[in-house]
Symmetry: C2
Subunit: 356 residues, 2 copies
């Protein structure tokens, strides 16, 4: 009989549903049940060792006790999940074999048993070129969900044209930094906002934005936008919602487009909250014929291969760069996730769980 | 030498800029300068006798001291203007001759001197078929700017499909009543909201809506919408903005469309107003992939001939009806215009200035 390793499996557990902004204490890192490093026969599953986990703002939505969304909430008392990169240890799925690297939704734990036929997990094998000088972790950011969100949102929702003016909020973040660089490659004028001087410098020096500003230093966001866009904004890629979106609505050009990607500043609020200031300037969308459109990257998976080809190509030609914020060890994961909502991270936040 | 009639020209004057909702006392009806009933030689103008004037909510925007919109404000102390139907008395424009009926932007006065080369006036000759049993005034509503707003907005912005669910606010108004009927002709399920029992009855009995409700009797608009749309809304044709739009955002189906046509409830507020509750539920547009789009009918004038053909056809085949609220005499015009904002009118509000 075959010898099967059994290990203790460290996990990040959601202690209880979260109301508002998540705190580190909403999660626990502890040893879960022991796990056999084996994909059971007949299960069609793969047993993977998790290497990198992606911290994404949308995960906050799954920490709430709200069952009407496009993704179910996490289960209190159980390990949470999110996009990750993992190595196949054992496979009962003909499409995967040991040592394959996979990306997709995996558990926030050392080892996970996953079923690739579950489409919601978006599992796919990561194709590593022989001459590939792209860091593996980039398959979570630049070449993963965040990068694809930027690519799909900018190309499919914003309909960019050369020489148009583009504004990106949370511009140094996982999605924003690629939106800005794609816009520059399209020949657009690009301005980004961020929340620290260091991020603003990064936008202008390393990420090639034409201009950038620290929104926390602007008492009047409308005036700030008028300074950088005296003739108005053609495209706004919105990662934050709230007062920034409201100010942008006062500065859109005729037939401008707004891609609603994420609303970090609002999404922690319950929908019936009356404490929120709300959006007051939506009326401006009428005389300016502005289109606002919410989107999810998962609706555009048919262009994922094209995305990989294009963005890998840009990277290899040194036309784009990507900034990651990597922390090490599953113990750091709750803090890294929570840090997203105070802007602690610089660039794409990733947790390294194990050595490659 | 030719004898030219000179008459006193009664006019509706804007007394001062309006802040908030206009009142009758913001306008004056009085005799203006005497006017020669003659289009001066070399002027390329036409001299018209105004027959019908259209009262439209957008006019409120022109009563404000705000110069950044797509239309300039009215000039305090001078006569206001709006869409109307008029008869040509004299013409120095080869395209028009006496007794022609024209539609377009004309003065709120008995006689106006207009230049058709001014594209903003949208002047056109009204084609009256020999067998035409359509009331002339319908060329201001059903076959005019209001009807065209409904047609262009519903077809070009809402992308309707058979069996989709459609919600229309201010549904018995000049625009809403045609949106609902067009949606029914598309095979949609259609619900309208209005502000009185009489209007709700009209929607269900005469205008063919599947359902209708009085929003003033609903303490919880979200609950009201869930009652009529248990599976959600595909298309919302928004004529009001505000709390209704906010409630609709909680009830949109995946890939729903919202046409932002007018925001009667909001547009009187200055853009920086903090007294407004604002829109709190825009975040829902992301998971539901909802598109919101502002539009102006004037962007779609290339489909105006098609609109006239289609809607005239529907009317002659008795597939649609149209409800007008007609008052008589220029003296009634300020009250009729102001009444729009309290919902006094039932159907398209028109002022008859003179007999045909």
């Amino acid at each position: 009989m075959e010898e099967v390793a059994v290990v203790e499996n460290k996990q990040v557990i959601l202690k209880q549903y979260v109301d508002g902004i998540p705190k580190e204490t909403d999660m626990d890192v502890k040893l879960g049940d022991k796990i056999k490093l084996k994909a059971p026969k007949g299960s069609s599953c793969i047993l993977v060792k998790n290497l990198y986990l992606s911290c994404d703002p949308y995960m906050r939505g799954r920490m709430r006790d709200f069952h009407g969304s496009y993704l179910p909430p996490f289960v209190p008392g159980q390990r949470i999940e999110g996009f990750g990169l993992a190595k196949v240890i054992d496979s009962d799925d003909a499409n995967y074999k040991p040592d394959d690297i996979i990306s997709g939704i995996t558990g926030w734990e050392e080892y996970s048993l996953l079923r690739s036929s579950n489409e919601q997990l978006q599992l796919r094998k990561v194709q590593l070129d022989d001459d590939d000088d792209i860091p593996l972790s980039y398959h979570l950011g630049l070449l993963g969900m965040a990068g694809f969100t930027a690519y799909a949102g900018f190309n499919e929702i914003c309909s960019p044209k050369k020489a148009e003016s583009v504004f990106v909020s949370a511009a140094s973040g996982a999605v924003g930094q690629l939106v800005g660089q794609l816009a520059k490659l399209h020949g657009c004028y690009v301005v980004g906002s961020a929340g620290t001087k260091q991020k603003v410098d990064l936008l202008k020096s390393k990420l090639g934005f034409d201009e950038a500003f620290n929104y926390k230093e602007e008492a009047d966001l409308d005036a700030a936008l008028k300074r950088y866009f005296p003739e108005g904004i053609n495209i706004y890629f919105d990662n934050v919602g709230g007062t920034m979106l409201d100010a942008v609505l006062l500065n859109m050009k005729v037939r401008g487009r707004i891609a609603l990607c994420g609303m970090v500043s609002l999404q922690s609020l319950s929908s019936s909250s009356s404490s929120s200031q709300g959006i007051n300037n939506l009326y401006n969308a009428i005389p300016k014929r502005v289109r606002l459109e919410g989107f999810l990257q998962s609706d555009y998976l048919h262009v994922f291969p094209q995305f990989l080809e294009h963005v890998k190509g840009y990277y290899k030609e040194k036309k784009i760069v990507y900034v990651e914020d990597m922390c090490e060890g599953l113990e750091q994961a709750p803090g890294a996730l929570v840090g997203l909502f105070s802007g602690k991270n610089i660039g794409k936040q990733i947790v390294q769980v194990a050595e490659e």
